[in-house]
């Protein structure tokens, strides 16, 4: 297999803290709450997730466990009680799962990696 073909077959796993920024694009948002570091995270995550031919290994546990855990922490720590906000936060992981399914259809992801396998990698 040539070097070029080898490169196209490269698979990477993004750190889960970095992966969140692939779903939350902070790069071009004008807000005092977003610092330069977060913008750089977002750029890197977006680059690997959407813009390169590099295939991403997306372990199930990130969308099934990690993301709902972070959003639950947000709800509790920031005392979010408004019904619409809660609905949005609850539905967000479902929406992101749908996005990963669409990207999988477009062959951006090689396969759905099961939790056991991805945990053993980590």
């Amino acid at each position: 297999m040539s070097q070029k073909e080898n490169k196209e077959e490269d698979h990477i796993i993004l750190d889960s803290n970095l992966l969140v920024y692939a779903f939350i694009d902070t790069e071009n948002i004008l807000s005092r709450k977003i610092n330069e570091r977060e913008k750089i995270y977002s750029r890197i995550a977006k680059y690997f997730f959407y813009e390169t031919p590099t295939k991403i290994l997306l372990p199930n546990f990130i969308l099934d466990i990690e993301l709902p855990r972070i959003l639950s922490k947000l709800i509790i720590q920031k005392h979010i009680t408004e019904e619409t906000k809660l609905k949005i936060l609850v539905n967000l992981p479902k929406q992101l799962k749908q996005l990963t399914h669409q990207l999988q259809l477009l062959e951006k992801f090689p396969q759905q990696v099961d939790t056991q396998y991805s945990l053993s990698i980590n």
Binding site: I29, I34, I88
Partner: protein
């Protein structure tokens, strides 16, 4: 003096009548093309036939409109250009805003139709981008007409029409009529990438997610 003023007004009026007539003729051609596309989508849901028809209609219409607009005085074209450009940019902003609203409302209600609608608004904003030589708006009109009958075909059609403007480069190798599911996914993923991820960031940053993420890192 009054004779000079009357002559000037008459000449100006004649000039304006001519410009109005040319613009009306161009507008009639656009309406005819739109009607043809709507007729086809009314008769069939076959994507291959619809795409072939749009390409055929757009070629003839573009040729006729170019011929009509060539008759416009250069000065009028120069006067019209900034206004058309302003209207185009405002329309893009409007469609982008509608796409954003549809996404937020979908998140709050989980109504899938709103997500499809948002993706079509997003495609409409892409269709208005330059260059205007491609028949992107005709694809969007056909997609909107098809949306209630077959949402997946509608999204696939809009994705195919705006494919050169979509940010995700993993485009399906098959044609839309061979695999509408993949083409629909391309439009929806692009919509998520350009609209939804930004909207998520705006909402979640405001609600304090970034502080939580910083805590997680520590």
């Amino acid at each position: 003096m009054s004779i000079q003023a009357t002559t000037f007004l008459n000449t100006y009026r004649k000039k304006m009548d001519k410009v109005q007539k040319i613009l009306l003729d161009a507008f009639k051609e656009i309406i005819c093309a739109t009607e043809d596309v709507l007729d086809i989508t009314q008769q069939t849901q076959n994507l291959k036939l619809i795409i072939e028809a749009i390409e055929h209609v757009s070629q003839t219409t573009l040729k006729q409109i170019t011929e009509i607009l060539e008759e416009l005085p250069t000065q009028t074209i120069q006067e019209l250009n900034p206004q058309v450009e302003k209207a185009r940019k405002e329309a893009i902003q409007g469609y982008t805003l509608l796409a954003k609203i549809a996404y937020i409302t979908h998140l709050a209600t989980q109504d899938q139709k709103l997500l499809h609608l948002g993706a079509l608004f997003y495609a409409a904003s892409k269709a208005l981008q330059k260059p205007a030589t491609k028949p992107r708006p005709l694809y969007i009109i056909a997609a909107i007409h098809l949306a209630t009958k077959n949402p997946e075909h509608a999204l696939a059609l809009a994705a195919y029409g705006t494919r050169d403007k979509l940010p995700i480069k993993h485009q399906p190798r098959e044609k839309p009529w061979q695999n509408p599911h993949k083409w629909a996914a391309l439009l929806q993923a692009s919509y998520m990438y350009e609209i939804a991820t930004k909207t998520n960031a705006e909402l979640l940053a405001e609600w304090g997610l970034l502080e939580i993420l910083q805590e997680e890192e520590e």
